[in-house]
Point group: C2
Chain length 164, copies 2
DNA sequence: AGGTTATAGTTTGATATCAAACTATGTGCC
DNA sequence: GGCACATAGTTTGATATCAAACTATAACCT
């Protein structure tokens, strides 16, 4: 395979000689929105690869964690906590139930609502995913550096809460 | 409408009294991956609303900017710059061409490759989107604060490049 | 020249997501 | 009780995305 330049361009001149060029990002270069997307996408892909090794999709992880930490949580509460629309959760929960990782029961007082709980099998899977996530976090920590980590997290949280 | 607590839970006790609870995030609370996703998703949604006001989807923005800043760029180069798979780009470029914002020409030297350029109409649209993005960025800047902004951006870039 | 390998872009199939419409249940008010 | 409205979850339709298979062209090697 010919070596290629990840973020570069190669254009051919009149005589076929390679002219390496660099992509110009213009304002994207220093805009937070774009860089936030790029960072998130790359980090997500990396975690995705890791979690696929143990046969789970990455989206399942936050969902399982939230159910485990909040036994009896409803799907709507879960969707808020997870920052997703409740309708996105329907197939996810269905799958987790089908595979025996989560159980759902109707609430007595309000028969519209489900209560979700992680089964013992779900706890096992969650433990594996958690180990996987910890390794991933260690990599991210290494990139960010101990010194800036706390502030970095604070800012991410602030963005999630305050942007509108 | 009853006032609801965005990230809280309300559970009913035996006598139907409301018991407000707070979601426990467990390790997600201080993990970078999760918070990165939440920040990105919220910021993206906010920009999405803004850009819809002028009738454009937010994904078009980075694409148009990159073409405008790199006249004659190919779709593959564009997909790398944009951090997406080249196949995702096919319908996007098709749409931009159909609406007359971008033109594509076959390269002479390599007839597999297209060269993309922004048309005058595309430049107009891009200018509107750019104003829109600047307003969005000002909001984000306000949240992050001048003092940490530079470092924050550096870290985001570093994550995108180094995570694997 | 001819065969092998690489590359640009498209197609296809799978997944994730949202928003709006829908069903069923619950609450409030008269 | 009964009507209007609110809420929990599902369904449906649209979009975005990836990965793998595909088509077409090009480059490389002998």
């Amino acid at each position: 395979m010919r070596k290629t330049n990840v973020s570069g361009r190669v254009r051919r001149g009149k005589n076929g000689e390679a002219i390496a060029e660099t992509i110009r990002f213009g304002p994207l270069e220093y805009w937070v929105g774009f860089n936030l997307r790029m960072a998130q996408e790359h980090a997500f892909q990396a975690f995705s690869r890791r979690s696929q090794e143990i046969g789970e999709s990455p989206g399942r992880f936050a969902t399982l964690t939230l159910i485990a930490r909040n036994p009896g949580i409803s799907q709507t509460e879960l969707s808020h906590a997870n920052g997703r629309d409740k309708s996105s959760l329907t197939p996810v929960v269905e799958d987790l139930v089908r595979r025996g990782l989560v159980e759902r029961k109707r609430m007595r007082q309000d028969r519209r609502t489900y209560r979700l709980n992680v089964t013992p099998a779900g706890k096992k899977t969650l433990a594996m995913l958690t180990r996987c996530a910890r390794r991933h976090e260690r990599v991210l920590d290494g990139i960010i550096g101990q010194r800036d980590r706390k502030r970095f997290l604070q800012i991410l949280k602030k963005i999630a809460v305050e942007v509108e």
